[in-house]
Amino acid sequence: MQTTTVFLMLIALSVISFYMGRKRSYTVARDRGGAVALHSLPKHYGYMAALWAALPALLILVLWLVFESSVLQRLVLAELPQTTTQMHVSELGLYYNQIVGYALGSIDSLQLDETQINAAEHYKALAASSSNIKALMVFLVAIIGCLLALQRVTPLLRARNHVENIFKWVLFSCSFLAVLTTLGIVLSVLFEAVRFFQVIPITDFLFGLSWSPQMAIRADQVAASGSFGFLPLLAGTLLISTVALFIAVPVGLMSAIYLSEYASRRFRAVTKPALETLAGVPTVVYGFFAAITVAPFIRQVGESLGLTVASESALAAGIVMGIMIIPFVMSLSDDIITAVPDTMREASLGMGATMNETIRKVLLPAALPGIVGGILLAASRAIGETMIVVMAAGLSAKLTANPLEAVTTITVQIVTLLVGDQEFDNPKTLAAFALGLVLFFVTLMLNIIALYVVRKYREQYE
């Protein structure tokens, strides 16, 4: 039976359990003067029965789905003759995928040998019985759960407390998902990165000066053994991010100062959301804009000035990225500047300083830590930004500080290494996870420092 059908049936079963539980509560209360004699409302008994039916069965369903494919694989491979099981792990994986593909009807029999077709039949039989057993188990557990709950219904049963306790756990697990997500990110990235570092020494990765991940995927291919020095990527990332911050910080900060200190309320109410639409534009749109419009324009201008400009210059990607983070810098600085107490403004103005002097000599020094924190957050945004650089920056890793040349970034390399065919025991693919680890770590550090600085700054004025 299809998983969706099982799932829908399970929902139907728990709805039935709800009505049965509610009915049961009326029945047990009838002799004692009706529903008033119950500890909880009748519907709580219904909820209890429904939860008892649904939760354990759901757990079984999920576990089954998680482990089904690997158990099936082991069973099918165990039946194969000795010669096939001695294959290399990746070959065996491909071999098995062909079996499954044939069994599911997505591959025709021409590409397969006799044993594979037999194995596919075996797989089909196993899969069919697995899904039958799965459905049976789920329904059985649901029905048992429901009956157990019904049996426990008495007027004294504290069904409401019981249901609410279960529900509190559900709420808790929803919020705990955030921790699990972080854990998932760290573990998945770390796991593959460690495999990468078993092939390429970590020092070569962290301190190497050249990046060219062209590597032979199979032993018989002729290719240079790749070099995985990550410094050129870091340099490229920092170059583009610096250009971006050179655009975003002056424009964003000055806009924030003007809007919070000078502009009328009406002007501010119209302008701020309008500028914030820049933050809502999808990054792929900026990437297209950078690649099709800005890069050729910069090239033209550069050439008319007699400069050699790469067609995928860091400048183009950086400028567009800067435009993207203007609203980000603006709202962060705006929050920070408005948080400076009015007493400081009034004291300075009262001494006869002009508004400009007040801002430069009083407000900005007071707000500086917060603004620095905001800029760090913006920098972490720029470092992690992917689509703009994938579409507008280059692919070749160069160690340069000239923004007119083409550079590549960490995110670009992750995308190029992982889009397309993948083999998971190849350093080329694993390198992407090592880069992901670095990216995660760098942005995490920047965020932690930035949030710490901003919080310290806030506390100062509370």
Binding site: V170, S175, L177, M254, Y262, M391, F440
Partner: protein, 432 residues
């Protein structure tokens, strides 16, 4: 003595008086810097939008060429009253080609003929096929039929080709320009609204390519994202605002949520690839995995905004509910949540808008495939609108630049719509 201080005082005043002009000038300059910064932001926004719209609007029209096509049964290679299956396999391409040759009898030579055939779309034969299957009575006669123009011919007809540049540097050749001019004079060229852009999947030919497959893919992905992120996000917010004890575990959860909000989106793609595809064996390129990844990504946004909305509910409502004997959970679900709902919805819509525009994590989980067919479920291979934009942007043909911009316009229209709904909800919420 008295005289001295007066004198000093006078000179200080004079000094201040003298500097005032400079200081006021500085003040005015500073204000202008501010205005300039705001203006710069607007100029960028304006250029961006203008660039996209000016590149994209031609894609909403499509030129058609009217050909007199002889649908002789023999020529099509079918019998007089053939069944649908036979009509499906008939040779429409040569019918179109011979009609083009009849129209320009002077054309000779292979290369010239090839240029002639390139006036109409390569996909035109399929349109003709569908037309004939719908109206089998056309067979045996000669009829005027409007066919889709090739994207290169179309771009000339839209006036995008500068005839002044050398012939070798452009795709539309001089002889094609002459033919198209003749067709235009005969009234055989017409420009219509490009419905195919909204009703077709991706194609290698710009004039045949549409965004329907990507739109449906986006819809399925958003459906999965919403079904996961909304309940989980709201529940998490309720727990953290109403139930969480003040302890280390709660702190850990809060720190994690704040940090996840700042993790680069591509890292979520790596998570999806390593965990959902490699470990759990979910299908690649499927909206299911895309939706799960995007829901993990939008979860922090939804949790943070929902918490703010729940926090804003007046404590008197909670106390009143508790006072009449409601339990904590009943208080939250029956009284606090309905009041906080507009705020929660606003945050969720903003989160969903972010997810709708997201590209990078979906590249990681293989949603970059060339998809012609409209996906039918959340496990079918599909692509989403931003990825379609990315794919078209990568394509070297000029016709696709136009399509890319048009697809961006559609995407932006959806985003503007979602944000407008969010703003309206917020306004109504504030009135309360």
């Amino acid at each position: 003595m008295n005289n001295m201080s007066e004198k000093n005082h006078g000179s200080a005043t004079a000094k201040i008086q003298a500097s005032l002009k400079k200081r006021y000038a500085k003040e005015r300059r500073f204000q202008w810097y501010g205005r300039l910064a705001v203006l710069t932001g607007f100029v960028f926004l304006f250029i961006l939008l203008l660039d996209i719209v000016s590149k994209g609007y031609p894609a909403f029209t499509q030129h058609y060429i009217k050909l007199e096509i002889n649908l002789d049964a023999e020529r099509l290679g079918v019998e007089a009253n053939a069944a649908e299956e036979e009509l499906y396999a008939a040779d429409y391409s040569s019918a179109i080609k011979s009609s083009l040759r009849d129209m320009f009898p002077t054309v000779s030579g292979r290369s010239e003929k090839r240029l002639l055939y390139r006036l109409v779309s390569i996909g035109a034969e399929y349109n003709l096929r569908d037309l004939v299957i719908k109206n089998p009575q056309l067979i045996g006669g000669t009829s005027d039929i409007w066919l889709r123009a090739h994207s290169e011919a179309g771009s000339y007809l839209k006036g995008q080709v500068a005839v002044a540049i050398p012939e070798s540097d452009r795709r539309v050749k001089d002889i094609q320009v002459v033919w198209l001019g003749q067709l235009q004079e005969e009234g055989r060229v017409d420009s219509r609204f490009n419905t195919a852009f909204f009703t077709q999947g991706d194609s290698r030919e710009p004039e045949m390519a549409g965004i329907k497959a990507a739109l449906v893919g986006s819809f399925f992905t958003m459906l999965v994202t919403f079904c996961l992120a909304f309940p989980v996000g709201v529940f998490a917010a309720i727990y953290l605002e109403e139930f969480a004890p003040r302890n280390r575990l709660t702190d850990l959860i809060e720190i994690n949520i704040n940090n996840l909000a700042a993790v680069p989106s591509i890292v979520f793609g790596l998570l999806g690839l390593a965990v959902f595809i490699n470990f759990f064996g979910l299908p690649r390129s499927a909206p299911l995995v895309g939706g799960i990844v995007l829901s993990l990504m939008t979860l922090p946004t939804i949790i943070i905004t929902s918490r703010a909305a729940i926090q804003a509910v007046s404590p008197s409502i909670r106390q009143a509910a508790m006072g009449v004997g409601a339990s904590k959970l009943q208080t939250v679900f029956h009284h606090v949540l309905p009041v906080a709902m507009p705020g929660i919805m606003t945050g969720s819509i903003i989160g969903m808008a972010q997810a709708l525009g997201e590209t990078a994590p979906l590249l990681m989980i293989g949603m970059v495939a060339f998809i012609m067919d409209v996906p039918g479920s959340v496990t079918d291979p599909s692509t989403v609108l931003p990825v379609q934009i990315f794919l078209w942007a990568d394509s070297p043909e000029r016709g696709f630049t136009e399509k890319t911009s048009a697809a961006i316009m559609v995407l932006m229209a959806f985003l503007i719509l979602m944000n407008a709904i969010a703003v309206i909800l917020r306004k109504r919420f504030e009135l309360k």
